[in-house]
């Protein structure tokens, strides 16, 4: 297949996508927090809390730095989120919101996820705070197992659709709900969604940030505008990741309303699980993924 190539107009279009997603992400993550709080009979944060935090962080008058890598950590992190978003077409069939997907296919998205993770880990490492390092070991350990069912699922659907192009995979799912991968290849989707739980930083897989246990994991030393950048990423990254899931498994989105709805629903899966189950330790979550999620993924690639 031949992808379209670059034109300058794509830059403002991409910025528009980014703008929409950032705001949607800000509101959505707050909403999810709120839903989680309500389940626990708490009131929860106001829906605009993320904006307030962002403004506050940028407005802080003093800030410190531990060195170059500390400085670059958040830049890596946010570049990872923005890049992931922009390498994947957001709205199916729309030239305007196809972003820079001409640069690479599904594999690019799959591997670019780690760009931010790695950079962030490096930045946090330079702070010299042991809690950051502990958080990183937990995060990296967990992600190795959590990514596995997702990778298997991706491979299964690449086999199923005989393509690695996200656009073509979405195209193949058009023409009714029953064409979604969710129904044509439920095993792969199950495996992927179990992996999804591991990457959303919600219970039972949130020991990496672990509120209360160690203050806040990798970002321990981050503050002010560094934290602002990372917060922006926290709004973008889950959405970007969910966009990949949506495109691969749930038929993609042909318009923004559908997009908002589907992203909300997929996000809700992790919230549902999160409010029900307590937290795993790292070795427990590794074993859990290997015992429960991976066999489903293996079945998916064998039966496709």
């Amino acid at each position: 297949m031949t992808p379209s190539s670059f034109e300058w107009i794509q830059i403002p279009y991409a910025l528009l996508t980014l703008f929409i997603v950032v705001n949607f992400g800000m509101l959505l993550t707050a909403l999810m927090q709120k839903i989680g709080a309500r389940v626990g009979r708490r009131h929860g944060i106001p829906i605009w809390q993320n904006y307030a935090d962002l403004i506050k962080n940028y407005a802080l008058r003093t800030s410190i730095t531990h060195g170059v890598m500390f400085y670059l950590g958040p830049v890596f992190r946010l570049s990872g989120g923005v890049g992931l978003l922009l390498f994947v077409p957001t709205i199916y069939g729309s030239v305007m919101f196809a972003n820079f997907s001409f640069a690479g296919d599904l594999i690019l998205a799959l591997y670019f996820v780690f760009f931010g993770t790695l950079g962030m880990a490096l930045g946090a490492g330079e702070s010299g705070h042991p809690y950051s390092a502990i958080g990183i070991t937990r995060g990296l350990s967990q992600v190795t197992a959590a990514e596995l069912p997702f990778a298997l699922a991706v491979f299964a659907i690449a086999l199923q659709y005989q393509t690695l192009s996200i656009t073509e995979i979405v195209a193949a799912q058009q023409g009714g709900v029953s064409n979604w991968t969710l129904f044509t290849n439920p095993l792969a989707v199950t495996a992927a969604m179990l992996g999804f739980l591991g990457s959303m930083m919600r219970p039972p897989f949130d020991v990496v940030l672990a509120p209360q246990e160690i203050p806040i994991g990798p970002p321990t030393e981050y503050h002010s505008s560094y934290l602002a950048l990372m917060q922006t990423n926290r709004a973008i990254f889950p959405i970007a990741k969910i966009v990949v899931y949506m495109n691969l498994f749930f038929g993609g989105a042909a318009s923004w309303p559908v997009f908002f709805f589907k992203v909300f629903c997929i996000y809700m899966v992790s919230v549902f699980v999160g409010v029900v189950f307590p937290r795993f330790r790292v070795e427990q979550s590794i074993r859990w993924f290997l015992v429960w999620a991976v066999p489903i993924g293996v079945a998916a690639i064998l039966l496709v």
């Binding site: 031949t2 400085y71 296919d105 350990s141």
Partner: protein
């Protein structure tokens, strides 16, 4: 042409003449001895010249002017001439060596030496059985005389035991002789053969007695306890004669002659006795730590090996003399040389030989001898081994082949362990530096020179090309001559040589060879830049390194299986020397060598089977092989190549070898050397393709091995505390990917393997250099002892950062290309299960990569490191060049891959990539390196500028400006979270890292050692026990040869 009788008369006459001299005139007696030996050697040399150069015909010499059976006849042909030369030269050199001793012992000893030499020549020349008996008696008496003349009490005992056994042997021989004469009416060997002795009544028994007597002279296992004592206690110069002339030449040739009478039906007996000796003696030598006893075992083993060749003469045809001679002369020269050397060593322990380190020329001799014994190229044993295996494979004598190769491996193991001691161990306290007189040194040097001369001769005689004509090898050996020059000069020569060879060769390379050629030659030159950092002369480094590069350069252009195998052995031995240079690398280098030679022997077996008797076998002809042999050949070759890529199960040598090597050696052996295995595997996959063994697709097995290597390599890397070990384990993982790619047997799989070849070379060389530079500065390789070095070593940090991003496969660097091709390749394969393992392995790479950069550069700086400087310039320079290469390769991978992608089409048509424009397109997906780089760069730069803008007033704080656990830390050691970094991971998956494989190999090694130790107890040192051994041996051989 001098009459053979004159040679014998010379020895005898000189001995009598000495007897007539007054005993004070020792100088004159010694001069006469030397002159007589020299004249005998000259006569024998003249014969060799006559047969070799003038094409002379073999002669029958009749004494008393009458043909046999009425008089003794001698036979003089090429073999007799060469053996006589060997015997006389050995005696001459030993006599020179023994000057002091002979002076002390007086004329009687000299006369005995002359008689011994004369009798050996007689044994070789005579065709008369009784005459043979007489010469053997003379030899026995002379041997015992020389041993008993020695002052040591132990030697006295040994000599006495020797006499006991020899009398037994003589009795057997005499009885046999009588019966044989009675049956045939002649004493002439040819006459007896014509009269078909063994078909006559009692003839079989008569022959058996003769034969067993001669066999016993070879000191076969287990009837050889007395011989070991003799080797151990006699004067080393005499042991040299004993090993190379008596057992090695004369007795073996006598056996060969006797077999003319016995005919082909006795050949299997010779083979069986020889094999038992070769295997058992080498196994018994394994736990041995006394040098002369070890040499004794090795002599017995080598003689056994030649006996096997004699036993196989029915299938060797015209090559018989070439093979037997190659092994025999190698053994004789090397063993004589080693025994002479042992005279310089003040103690009998193997470690004591480390005093040789002070004498480079003697050390060179030592290496030469060991290489000759092991049958390494370019020595005669190598050519002989090759031809022998070819013949055995052709005749389907697989069992003999397996046992020979196994024992040869054991032999190489203990010989090179010894070499490791010499290079690495310190002699015991108080050992004086030996100062051997020049005369003795010259004797050893002449053995060395003869060894190299034989290497040349055998190369010329071989139907294959003479290895000593190969330019790369000569270039490598040339460094031996300029060892005295300073290292920087030699380094420049080496770099120039590599580049020049690339320049000369590259027009002839196909695209695939070009990739390997560039990695090996240009890549090698690049890594050598780091070697400018070394000071002094760096003795030994350049010959070794260049030997490895020569082997590699010859490997990729090898057309015949012989060239391929020779190159393989050269690169193995060169890299072994190179690895051995590391400070603590002695055991690791040995384990590398044993695995590599084991692999090489499998390759040898594979090629031998494939050639099916043909002299020249083209590597490309592997594709024409068919069932049922083809899958076996595939398996042998594949396992052989996988020892080099350190596939799981065969990987235990790699971590130590790569981690303990010197700073600039690690990138060579990791970045470049491992690719030899990949090259072999690619060749194999392209020629032989898919093979089934017992219904199992072998490439599927390789898929599993590749995937498991990737997983276990990565997992173990994550748990290392030593930075270089971490990188070494990571290589196992990376090579697992390459193996997986090859085993996929499709277009993109191969491309992926080649991508890994290039990528792995660049980033692993870069990382090994960075880590090496850091280790040089910090004095440790343990990562948890470091930390916070980013500000002190920013350039090293950049190299490691770029390196780990590339290894991990994160876009936009070149590692991603490898991953992208992998995904495209795997969509086509049928076996999907191993993929699960490969997928699991992928993210684990992040664990070790992050650990590498974090624990070294980030976190808390240690107090003792506060004043460290950046790594040395010459170590940094190649790293920076690698960074640039990596960037270029990331942006335009087509530069290197496009042509090879086209080239692969002829093996796997279709399924390639489309390289048009900026986007690389496959059947399934697409990838545009430059736009990815631009997009990522633009986002990154924008955000960075934004952060700089909003955060411009950020205050740089000092170390420890953090708070945790309600206090502000002040000690880096307690704050740097580094040791056992992935503890939770170990809890979850640690069971996968149990060293099962290591335990498996250790158990084998342990079993061999303790088995040998147990068997060794049969040698009680008691003469009577030894006599019983001999009788038991006689009975056993009788049952084997006649009774069964």
């Amino acid at each position: 042409m001098v009459n053979a009788l004159i040679l014998i008369a010379l020895g005898l006459g000189a001995a009598f003449l000495i007897g007539l001299l007054p005993s004070r005139w020792r100088g004159l007696a010694y001069a006469i001895t030397l002159a007589a030996l020299a004249a005998m050697a000259a006569i024998a040399g003249g014969w060799v010249w006559y047969f070799a150069m003038e094409g002379g015909q073999a002669l029958e010499i009749h004494t008393a002017g009458t043909p046999p059976p009425f008089a003794v006849a001698l036979h003089l042909g090429m073999a007799e001439a060469v053996l006589t030369l060997l015997v006389t030269v050995t005696s001459l050199l030993s006599a020179i060596y023994l000057k002091d001793t002979l002076h002390r012992l007086g004329r009687r000893a000299m006369a005995v030496l002359l008689i011994l030499t004369m009798s050996l020549a007689g044994i070789i020349l005579t065709r008369d059985l009784f005459n043979l008996y007489v010469f053997i008696e003379l030899m026995v008496i002379a041997t015992a005389g020389l041993v008993l003349l020695s002052a040591s009490r132990f030697a006295l005992g040994a000599g006495f035991k020797y006499l006991i056994i020899s009398q037994l042997v003589s009795i057997l021989m005499l009885i046999g002789l009588i019966f044989a004469y009675h049956a045939t009416g002649t004493l002439n060997i040819d006459g007896m053969a014509d009269a078909a002795l063994i078909t006559r009544q009692g003839g079989m028994l008569a022959f058996f007695l003769l034969f067993i007597a001669m066999l016993a002279e070879l000191k076969p296992f287990p009837a050889n306890g007395w011989a070991l004592d003799l080797y151990e206690s006699a004067h080393p110069a005499f042991s040299a004669i004993l090993s190379s002339a008596i057992a090695g030449a004369a007795a073996l040739y006598a056996v060969d002659k006797l077999l003319l009478i016995g005919g082909t039906e006795w050949l299997p007996v010779a083979t069986a006795v020889g094999l038992t000796s070769f295997v058992a003696a080498n196994l018994l030598a394994l736990p041995q730590d006394k040098d002369r006893r070890l040499l004794g075992y090795s002599s017995i083993g080598q003689v056994g090996l030649i006996l096997v060749v004699i036993g196989q003469q029915d299938i060797l045809g015209d090559d018989y003399l070439f093979i037997a001679g190659g092994i025999l002369l190698s053994h004789a020269v090397a063993k004589a040389g080693l025994f002479w050397l042992s005279g310089f060593i003040p103690e009998q322990g193997l470690s004591a030989w480390s005093v040789l380190r002070q004498r480079p020329l003697l050390l060179f001799g030592f290496v030469t001898f060991i290489a000759m014994l092991t049958g390494l190229p370019p020595f005669p044993g190598f050519y002989a081994k090759w031809e022998l295996m070819g013949a055995l494979a052709d005749a389907d004598r697989i069992g003999v082949m397996i046992l020979l190769l196994f024992a040869a491996l054991v032999e190489a193991a203990y010989l090179f362990r010894w070499f490791g001691y010499v290079i690495k161990r310190e002699p015991n306290e108080g050992i004086a530096q030996p100062r051997p007189p020049l005369r003795k040194c010259l004797v050893v040097h002449s053995a060395t020179a003869i060894g190299w001369g034989l290497a040349w001769v055998w190369g010329e005689l071989s139907v294959h090309a003479n290895l000593l004509h190969a330019l790369p090898l000569l270039f490598a050996l040339g460094f031996l001559l300029i060892e005295g020059l300073p290292a920087w000069l030699k380094n420049s020569v080496a770099i120039a040589g590599l580049l020049a060879w690339f320049w000369l060769s590259y027009p002839g390379y196909d695209p695939m060879q070009l990739i390997f050629g560039a990695v090996i030659l240009v890549g090698g030159a690049l890594i050598l830049l780091a070697s400018y950092h070394a000071h002094g002369k760096r003795i030994g480094f350049y010959p070794s390194a260049m030997l490895m590069y020569a082997g590699l350069a010859m490997l990729i252009v090898a057309e015949t299986s012989f060239q391929f195998f020779a190159a393989w052995e050269l690169l193995t031995i060169g890299s072994y020397f190179l690895i051995l240079r590391g400070k603590h690398s002695e055991p690791h280098a040995l384990s590398y060598l044993v695995f590599s030679l084991g692999g090489a022997f499998l390759i040898l077996a594979g090629f031998s089977l494939a050639a099916q008797g043909a002299d020249i076998f083209l590597v490309s002809a592997l594709s024409e092989l068919s069932e049922p042999l083809a899958p076996w050949i595939f398996a042998l070759l594949a396992i052989g190549f996988m020892t080099k890529t350190a596939a799981i199960g065969l990987h235990i040598w790699l971590p130590g070898a790569h981690a303990e090597a010197e700073t600039d050696v690690s990138p060579m052996v990791s970045g470049i050397l491992l690719k030899a295995g990949v090259f072999g595997l690619i060749t194999l996959a392209l020629t032989m393709g898919k093979q089934q063994l017992f219904g199992i697709e072998l490439t599927h097995v390789m898929l599993w091995i590749g995937a498991l290597s990737a997983l276990i390599g990565n997992l173990l890397a994550a748990f290392q505390e030593d930075a270089k070990r971490l990188l070494a384990y990571s290589s196992i993982g990376q090579m697992g990917y390459a193996l997986f790619g090859i085993a996929m047997m499709n277009h993109l799989g191969l491309l992926m393997a080649l991508m890994f070849v290039i990528n792995h070379y660049i980033y692993k060389s870069m990382l090994f250099l960075s880590v090496g530079g850091i280790a040089k500065r910090t004095g440790t390789r343990d990562m948890y002892r470091m930390g916070g070095l980013i500000t002190l070593m920013p350039l090293s940090f950049i190299a490691v950062l770029i390196g780990i991003i590339a290894v991990s496969g994160v876009p936009p660097l070149s590692g991603f290309g490898g991953r992208w091709i992998t995904y495209n390749a795997i969509i086509d394969i049928e076996t999907r299960l191993p993929l699960v393992i490969l997928f699991l392995a992928g993210p684990i790479a992040f664990l070790y990569l992050f650990r590498l950069i974090h624990t070294i550069f980030l976190g808390q700086l240690k107090d003792e490191h506060r004043k460290l400087k950046e790594a040395p310039f010459w170590i940094l320079l190649p790293q920076m060049i690698f960074v640039v290469c990596l960037m270029i390769f990331a942006l335009v991978p087509g530069l290197a891959l496009r042509h090879v992608d086209n080239y692969i089409n002829q093996f796997y048509p279709g399924g390639g990539l489309d390289w048009a424009g900026l986007t690389i397109t496959s059947q399934y997906g697409y990838w545009a390196p430059i736009p990815i780089m631009v997009v990522v760069g633009a986002i990154f730069a924008t955000l960075f500028l934004w952060l700089v803008f909003v955060n411009r007033k950020a205050q740089k704080v000092k170390q420890f400006n953090i708070v945790f656990a309600a206090e502000r830390p002040h000690r880096p050691e307690t704050t740097h979270f580094a040791w056992n970094f992935f503890a939770p991971y170990r809890k979850a998956l640690g069971f996968l890292t149990e060293p099962y494989v290591t335990r498996f190999w250790e158990t084998i090694s342990e079993a061999l050692h303790s088995g040998a130790d147990l068997t060794r107890r049969i040698y009680t040192g008691n003469g009577q026990t030894y006599a019983i051994h001999l009788l038991a041996f006689v009975v056993a051989v009788y049952l084997l040869g006649v009774g069964l």
